[in-house]
Symmetry: C2
Subunit: 193 residues, 2 copies
Amino acid sequence: MDPKPLLDCFKKYISLTNEEELLLLSKVTYRKYLKSQYIVQQGDICKFTGFIISGCTKTFYMDDGGQEHIILFAIEDWWTSDLGSFIAQSPADFNVQCIENTELIQFSFDAIEELFIEIPKLERFFRKIVERAFVSTQKRIVRNFSLTAKEQYVQFKNMYPTIEQRVPQYMIASYLGITKEFLSKIKSQLLLE
Amino acid sequence: MDPKPLLDCFKKYISLTNEEELLLLSKVTYRKYLKSQYIVQQGDICKFTGFIISGCTKTFYMDDGGQEHIILFAIEDWWTSDLGSFIAQSPADFNVQCIENTELIQFSFDAIEELFIEIPKLERFFRKIVERAFVSTQKRIVRNFSLTAKEQYVQFKNMYPTIEQRVPQYMIASYLGITKEFLSKIKSQLLLE
DNA sequence: AGTAAATGTTAACCTACATTAACATAATTT
DNA sequence: AAATTATGTTAATGTAGGTTAACATTTACT
């Protein structure tokens, strides 16, 4: 395993000594998942928060009618988990499933609590990561309320061009909160413009 | 000013010594706003994050068509700001306006950065606060996608009965992402059931 | 108390998007 | 290569919620 992408991510917000880096890496686990495997399942306790080295995941909620609602895609250099379940060690609301073969570096709940004690500045790092996640989630609510489905799709393509290439259309429709049929219609409308 | 509610809030997540409490309180400012005053205005840099001692605020986005989209209400014991603007010290996407006369304890960006250095465990506190905010925002996206407007309104009433009493209906409609006319229809339907 | 402003209701009509269903095409598996 | 399985498209019809507009009620101001 090459921990460089992970350490680079930490470097964006805090600086770690060599010893701190080694301590940190001694407490994480590297893991590969295959396409379609679940990292977290709705109802289970989310035991890990993970940093993606390669691959792509979707975080989704299965409603009572059996419909999938994707709330997040994650690719290389992103963090993924069911944070609500992880922080409270309570049953997960969401599933996290691999859309591609995915390599992760995982932090268990206990490991991360130990690390917070041993390297307090990690609190700062994770505070900043969560702040950014919060802000982007809030912006998503705004887009949801103030844009039409077509506008949202265009913004999504511009914001996440790689993801738009990598994941099937019907998942993008689910992320946007519309049906695949309607997204198909939007796409054909955009071609005519 | 009585700082007890603020200190109690900190106590839920971390413990502070007497000196730490005094240091913290020496760096905050107490401020009163009148109903309808703005704490943050879209486009300005959000200079403070605030803890509400009394009163009620709404955080909203004004879209290009001049329509208000409320993304958050906040009452006593809650934190309020445009976090995206505050953390990046960049122009605010949102307005924060008082719905009632409101008393706040405000933390300036500089004060909070100093406090993080002087009392590192505050990083932990704010990490936890933001984690919770993130989780509740994510849950809101789920509700948005998987519930009808009527179901969302019923949940809102159950989750925030005080807020439902205190703010005008048309603001609740805006929070739910529907028109006041449609909320009115929903309410009359609920009366018949 | 009287007037203006803010808030809430009702009803007719409209639109963005959902549903259903049939079909087309691409990607995997055998 | 054939056969599944996953993904994408088109079109008819249905519905949740929007828009407009007129009116009712409450609250705030002079």
